[in-house]
């Protein structure tokens, strides 16, 4: 009846001794009068899959963007591999995002005019890979995510689940250190969501990619190693369980 451990300070208890890959302290961010983040501490450890859940409008996306160096918090710091993201300029953060991070969103992130495989080559080309090599690697990633047969199709010719898997392939193609995913299964049914999540976690674990994942869906969150609950811009619960 009472096997579950009662957790103390949620975000700090996860530290487990090792230095976290991403470390955020005292994050505060307001949009006008809306306080989206109200003093958040987070640690993300290398190789883990962390889910962020919480009610709509609670600040999950905002937190993700702050962690990824997309938004700059009003207060607080984010350190990635002991480098302060919050002290870098936009160009520096852009470079970091391009080199170290991958992103998957809920929908509509594929360039409509490019075939699936061309879409996957985009971040590789941005990173300076030769076109031929980029195409080869893109095919490998499509294969790994089980959508190789659709590589020549345009996004409009793909199902939602296929398009999401192409998006995951694109995000992972550069073998980022951290993959940020905001509702990657948000518009998919149970089975499609399961396929995308399986592919995503398998691929991430295979390359040692750390994953930060926002989701409303408990079954999607169940693919994570631990869960963080955000409410009203604060973390009300988090840390590894089980």
């Amino acid at each position: 009846m009472s096997e579950a451990k009662v957790m103390g300070s949620p975000s700090l208890s996860a530290a487990g001794g090792s230095v976290p890959l991403l470390r955020a302290r005292g994050l505060r961010l307001s949009f006008g009068f809306t306080e989206a983040l109200r003093g958040i501490h987070v640690d993300v450890h290398a190789g883990e899959v962390m889910a962020i859940t919480g009610p709509s409008g609670s600040g999950k996306s905002t937190l993700l963007h702050v962690l990824a160096g997309v938004l700059v918090p009003d207060h607080g710091t984010v350190e990635y591999k002991q480098v302060r993201l919050t002290a870098l300029d936009e160009a520096g953060r852009s470079r970091l995002r391009l080199g170290e991070f991958g992103f998957v969103f809920q929908y509509g992130q594929l360039l409509p005019d490019l075939s699936a495989v061309d879409n996957v080559t985009i971040p590789l080309l941005l990173a300076g890979t030769k076109r031929r090599e980029a195409l080869r690697r893109a095919e490998v990633w499509l294969e790994r995510l089980g959508v190789a047969e659709h590589s020549g199709k345009l996004p409009a010719q793909l199902s939602g689940g296929q398009a999401q898997r192409v998006a995951v392939a694109r995000a992972l193609a550069t073998e980022p250190a951290v993959l940020f995913a905001d509702e990657p299964t948000g518009s998919l049914d149970s089975l499609a969501a399961e396929n995308v999540m399986l592919a995503l976690t398998e691929a991430a674990r295979a390359t040692g990619t750390t994953v930060v994942l926002i989701t409303h869906d408990p079954r999607t969150a169940a693919y994570a190693d631990r869960e963080l609950i955000v409410r009203d811009g604060q973390i009300t619960f988090g840390g590894p369980t089980g």
């Binding site: 160009a91 995002r97 991070f101 409509p112 985009i122 941005l126």
Partner: protein
């Protein structure tokens, strides 16, 4: 619910939609305003040509050339007149000498009854010039002023025209001009003066082609702005389809929206055209500025233009929406454009073949019937063909290029073009049309300015020396010498020497005169022969010769080189009574007048046309480039979020503009020159041709490319702002 209230419902409250509609209305307004102003200008060119060409006496009522005016006294219903050019400080004055009977009923345009002998009527601009200078430089040439020529006899407020009254006996039948159109010189008896809008059908053709040239970019602009935000609109329409609207109903809504918007825009455009006409009238075209009334378009025309623009844009919006296949799934399932078909290049090939064929048969001496209309048709086909074949060519090139590109921007841009060849080409189509038109005009104008006065040099005839070619009769030879010596006493004149015809070639001067004129005189010669080429600016070829027994051929008046002295010398010659064959003029004035034709009038407008076409096309380019970015706002925003640098975004925009432009750029220039040659050579049966355009053409090309670059650079900011992280909805 009516279509209109539905249309309002789907646009009201949505800021993006309102901005889109405002942009559409503004674009239509600019298009309509320019259209009306240019229409007015064309109309004005015709009516002012009609007003100014009454000075071409052969176009008058029952014209008859008179060889002995003293014997052919004017009756009450005919006058004797001669029309000659006169020069002052580099400007050309049209001078009409009229001899009328005291009871004459023949009206002179802008004057009324012909002036009495010894008096004159001057145009306001000339009157001002006369008042601003000493009489011995200008005013004394014409006598006493009797009045000012009215509007009806003038092409432009800037026209320099003088009508002098004279006795029939003083009219000089051997007097000529040096232009190509000899028939208008000499003395004519006319029963009335009349003008023609177009001197001949060739000019009418040129005018029609010019109108097409300016209309095309305007139409492209209207086409571009009415497509603004097509993707965003398609999304809204998809929602309507989803809740049960039929495709027809959606098309009706699109038509209503476009109709109302373009109506508002067209009204605004008509109003601005009216407000801008006084400013437009200040622009000098050909003969000078316009009278404001010339630029005012008839109310019926305004209504027709407004109704036409609204009807066409509404119909096109309806047709486009009905055939866009907007399903309930909307843009997420958006099909890419149909692949452009190869037959779209047919009009281009047909037009080129037609123009070439017509011109070649004409040049080879067996012109087809209706050359003009065939040329206009060919020109229309080429213009249309450039626009229709652009997407095909762009698609082919992008297809080839897509394999070779390396960078991110290249991959994004080439694939965009491959999927949307029409949309991407449409963005540059205005510029393409402008480059084509600019090339046509620039090449056609070379026919007007092909020759220019020869170079100056210390041994050449000074440009300030006045040449008066004489028509002295044998009986008047002695009188001419006295008259010449009188001219020699004019202040500022250094030498006034009479030369006689040489039996074979050139002019014979007394050796002393030649030496004073600065010519190299062979030692011991009494008289020297000077080759004619010298008087046109050529090198002096002087040889000793025998004393002449021929009539005086030329009166050469060297001056101290100031402009006033030249004008004083000219006035003195005109007043001396010496019988002239040509108006006294410097060699540069003579050379210039030889080139002056009515074509100049239209050439002036081409400069304006180029400017307008280029500006419009830059606007269309900016508008469509912005639209292309806004349509992909979300995806590009997300890519920037993942770390794509802004420079890549810029390169995408650049590549999407540069490729279609580069594809057809050389083609436009080539076809432009070809079309110009066809029009010029075809209409003159090969008597005229075109040559390399001058520097201003390359400047114009460079300017249009620069303007295009500026338009694209202007969209960078919008692109940057609209893909910013804060505006991208990323859930």
């Amino acid at each position: 619910m009516s279509v209109f209230s539905l249309a309002r419902l789907v646009t009201a409250g949505d800021r993006g939609a309102r901005i889109r509609l405002a942009g559409m209305a503004a674009g239509v307004a600019v298009g309509v305003a320019l259209l009306l102003l240019l229409w007015g200008a064309y109309d004005a060119l015709a009516s002012r040509a009609e007003r100014s060409t009454w000075t071409t006496l052969s176009a008058g009522v029952s014209p008859q050339q008179v060889s002995d005016p003293a014997a052919a006294a004017p009756s009450d219903d005919t006058v004797l007149a001669s029309s000659t050019p006169d020069y002052f400080m580099g400007r050309t004055i049209t001078r009409i000498d009229v001899a009328a009977s005291p009871g004459s009923t023949v009206a002179v345009p802008g004057v009324g009854r012909a002036p009495l002998a010894g008096t004159y009527y001057a145009s306001p601009a000339l009157a001002a010039l006369i008042d601003a200078h000493p009489a011995d430089e200008l005013g004394a040439r014409y006598g006493t002023r009797a009045g000012v020529i009215g509007h009806a006899g003038l092409a432009s407020p800037d026209s320099l025209v003088v009508v002098t009254g004279t006795a029939a006996g003083d009219l000089n039948p051997s007097r000529g001009g040096s232009g190509a159109d000899e028939s208008q010189f000499g003395v004519w008896s006319v029963a009335g003066f009349g003008g023609a809008a177009y001197p001949n059908v060739a000019y009418r053709t040129v005018a029609i082609i010019g109108a097409i040239a300016i209309l095309l970019p305007v139409l492209i602009l209207v086409g571009v702005v009415t497509r603004l935000g097509a993707a965003e609109r398609a999304e809204r329409f998809a929602t309507l389809r989803l809740i049960g609207a039929t495709p027809r109903r959606v098309a009706d809504i699109a038509a209503a929206e476009t109709g109302v918007t373009s109506l508002a825009g067209a009204f605004a455009g008509a109003l601005s055209a009216w407000l801008l006409s006084p400013i437009a009238a200040r622009i000098e075209v050909g003969d000078g500025r316009f009278f404001r009334t010339d630029l005012t378009v008839a109310p019926f025309t305004v209504i027709a233009v407004v109704a036409g623009v609204v009807a066409v844009s509404t119909a096109v919006a309806w047709w486009r929406t009905a055939h866009a296949g907007i399903g309930p799934l909307g843009v997420s399932r958006e099909q890419s454009e149909r692949r452009p078909a190869a037959f779209a290049v047919v009009p281009l090939i047909a037009g080129t073949t037609l123009m070439l064929g017509v011109t070649l048969t004409s040049v080879l001496g067996s012109p087809l019937y209706g050359v003009e209309m065939l040329l206009v048709l060919g020109f229309l086909l080429i213009s249309l063909g450039l626009v229709t074949s652009g997407p095909v060519l762009t698609y082919w090139v992008a297809h080839l290029a897509a394999r070779g590109v390396r960078g991110t921007a290249g991959v994004i841009a080439m694939n965009r073009i491959r999927q949307h060849p029409r949309a991407t080409f449409r963005a540059v189509s205005g510029l393409v049309a402008a480059v084509f038109m600019v090339s046509v005009f620039a090449a056609a104008v070379t026919t007007v300015t092909a020759q220019s006065a020869q170079a100056d040099g210390s041994d050449r005839l000074a440009k300030s020396t006045v040449l008066a070619y004489l028509a002295t009769r044998p009986t008047e030879a002695d009188a001419a010498i006295t008259q010449a010596s009188r001219v020699a006493h004019t202040p500022g004149v250094t030498v006034a020497a009479i030369g006689h015809h040489h039996p074979e070639e050139g002019v014979v001067f007394a050796a002393s005169d030649a030496a004073r004129l600065g010519l190299p005189v062979p030692a011991g010669a009494d008289h020297v022969q000077v080759a004619s080429d010298y008087f046109e600016g050529g090198p002096p070829v002087v040889s000793a010769t025998a004393a002449p027994d021929t009539a005086p051929a030329i009166l050469l008046i060297a001056t101290d080189g100031t402009a006033s002295s030249t004008e004083r010398a000219r006035t003195a010659v005109l007043r001396s009574g010496v019988r002239l064959a040509l108006p006294p003029a410097t060699r540069t004035e003579l050379a210039a007048s030889a080139l002056q034709t009515t074509a100049n009038r239209y050439a002036g407008l081409t400069g304006l046309g180029m400017l307008v076409a280029t500006i419009i096309s830059a606007v269309s380019l900016a508008v469509s480039t912005t639209a292309a970015i806004l349509d992909r706002k979300r995806v590009l925003g997300l890519l920037r979020l993942t770390g794509m640098p802004v420079s890549t975004l810029r390169r995408v925009i650049l590549a999407e503009t540069a490729l279609p432009l580069a594809t057809v750029f050389a083609l436009c220039i080539g076809l432009g020159f070809l079309a110009a040659w066809c029009v010029v050579a075809g209409l003159t049966e090969g008597r005229r041709t075109v040559s390399w355009p001058d520097r201003s053409y390359f400047l114009a090309l460079a300017a249009s490319l620069l303007l295009a670059a500026a338009a694209v650079a202007g969209t960078f900011r919008t692109a940057h702002k609209n893909t910013e992280i804060s505006v991208t909805r990323y859930e």
